[in-house]
């Protein structure tokens, strides 16, 4: 029963994904819509705007530095949550004397 239902759902998902692959623009094409506006601006003036030679680092730390701040907060929250979950007291609290 579980295998039949999972096979049905997986075939639906696979059909949708293959349809999506056929609709994507050509792999490696230089006239893709994704390369239209921000790509020439970032790669053309990365060194003069930031002084860094690694364009990925220039994007992560300078052009989109605020996203890195949010991600640092996600790391902090994840460690907080994992440490709290690991050191929680075991079992239910007793009702005597409360």
């Amino acid at each position: 029963m579980r295998t039949v239902a999972s096979a049905f759902i997986l075939s639906l998902v696979a059909v949708v994904l293959i349809g999506m692959v056929s609709e994507m623009p050509r792999f490696g094409g230089s006239a893709n819509p994704a390369l239209a506006t921000t790509y020439p601006r970032y790669t053309g003036s990365a060194i003069s705007d930031t002084g860094a030679q690694n364009i990925v680092t220039a994007i992560v730390l300078d052009y989109r530095g605020f996203d890195t701040l949010g991600e640092t907060t996600v790391l902090f929250t994840a460690i907080l949550a994992a440490t709290l979950a690991l050191t929680a007291t075991k079992g239910k609290t007793s009702d005597s004397g409360k």
Partner: protein, 147 residues
């Protein structure tokens, strides 16, 4: 782990792994890598220290130093962002807030990227180290991990 060979080689190799991680983090604006990759390498060295039970100086204060590293790196990031506001431009601005640009190609260049890279490296290293430390200590008696 109780193996003598593994522990001896681990003690020798641990410092070189950490130097490699710091190199990747410091040269983030010149070669592929950056803060996150360097932090992962240093975190892996902390995992090695837990797995092989390598004694190092400062092992007793490791838990407090993890907490200190996490909080202080986030505060350093925000303070560097506020320097941009104090200079008149927006939050987290690099050359507009008159950070020194340097010559492209040298290590001390690109404004605030080196301090930010080091802060992110220490933060990711303490994340991975403290996670593995907390998960591995579930299985210990008196702080010694029996594999």
């Amino acid at each position: 782990m109780e193996s003598t060979i593994a522990r001896t080689i681990g003690r020798l190799v641990l410092q070189f792994i950490q130097v490699m991680g710091l190199y990747i983090a410091f040269h983030g604006h010149l070669s592929p890598g950056g803060g996150f990759a360097g932090g992962t390498v240093i975190g892996a060295s902390l995992v090695l220290a837990v797995l092989l039970d390598i004694p190092f100086r400062g092992k007793s204060v490791l838990k407090e130093s993890f907490v200190l590293a996490e909080s202080s790196c986030l505060i350093v990031y925000v303070i560097i962002g506020f320097v941009g506001i104090a200079a008149g431009t927006g939050f987290l601005s690099n050359l507009s807030a008159r950070f020194p640009p340097g010559t492209p190609g040298s290590v001390l260049s690109a404004g605030f990227m080196v301090p930010l890279g080091v802060a992110i490296c220490l933060k990711v290293a303490s994340t991975i180290g403290s996670l593995f430390w907390a998960l591995a200590r579930e299985d210990t008696q008196d702080g010694v991990w029996n594999a």
